[in-house]
């Protein structure tokens, strides 16, 4: 079943999709390999955060996702 990636905000514009399935396990370096072409500098930027199954990662380089996990890629917010 792999890992589900969810792209929020302008990151979805860059990938052209809101979600994508990648193979498990997924860590920071495999995520970089998979997406650096599409997301460029965004992925490594301090402004982009990661959440695994709804929990924000304090250090995104510590990413460890397995089969069935959902990883959200979160650019800077704006609301209100």
């Amino acid at each position: 079943m792999g890992v589900k990636l969810v792209f929020l905000g302008r990151l979805a514009d860059l990938t052209g999709v809101a979600e994508r399935e990648v193979s498990a396990p997924l860590d920071w370096s495999t995520l970089l390999d998979a997406l650096q072409g599409e997301l460029g500098g965004w992925l490594a930027s301090d402004k982009v955060k990661l959440a695994v199954n709804g929990t924000l990662l304090a250090d995104k380089m510590a990413l460890q996702a397995n089969d069935g996990d959902e990883v959200a890629l979160l650019p800077p917010v704006s609301g209100g």
Binding site: L74, P75, S78, G80
Partner: protein, 148 residues
Amino acid sequence: MKDVRLLADPFNPGQLVGPFTNAHPGLGGVCTFVGEVRGDDGVEALELTHYEPLTLAGMDALADAALARFDLMGILIAHRVGEMRAGEPIVLVSAAARHRRSAIQAVDFAMDHLKSDAWFWKREKRGGQWHWIDPRPEDHADLARWTS
């Protein structure tokens, strides 16, 4: 009373504030802020994206923070998601308290956090094109007032 909602459809502020007020007999006052989609700069539509697992949980934590920080009887936070047009309500915060300044400050606090520290992504359509909107520098400055 804590009431936190993500709303996918247009809402009528009075229909939320009325029952919220009535739910707090003995209150001294209710402060309410309603934000609407501004119709400036030829904006044709506005879209708010959220990420369910974080957005609602974050709003709930914000409501808890307001209840802990101010002397409130209750707080209501409602936020639209999806596509909206100018003039539609996009956010509503109501705070009920025994004394007015607690209610007013809680609304100020919650709005500052919703504006630049909540899990929403906003884009506007102008001339048929969508543009992502970043928080204004003032929004970050407003938020920084509360970190003391």
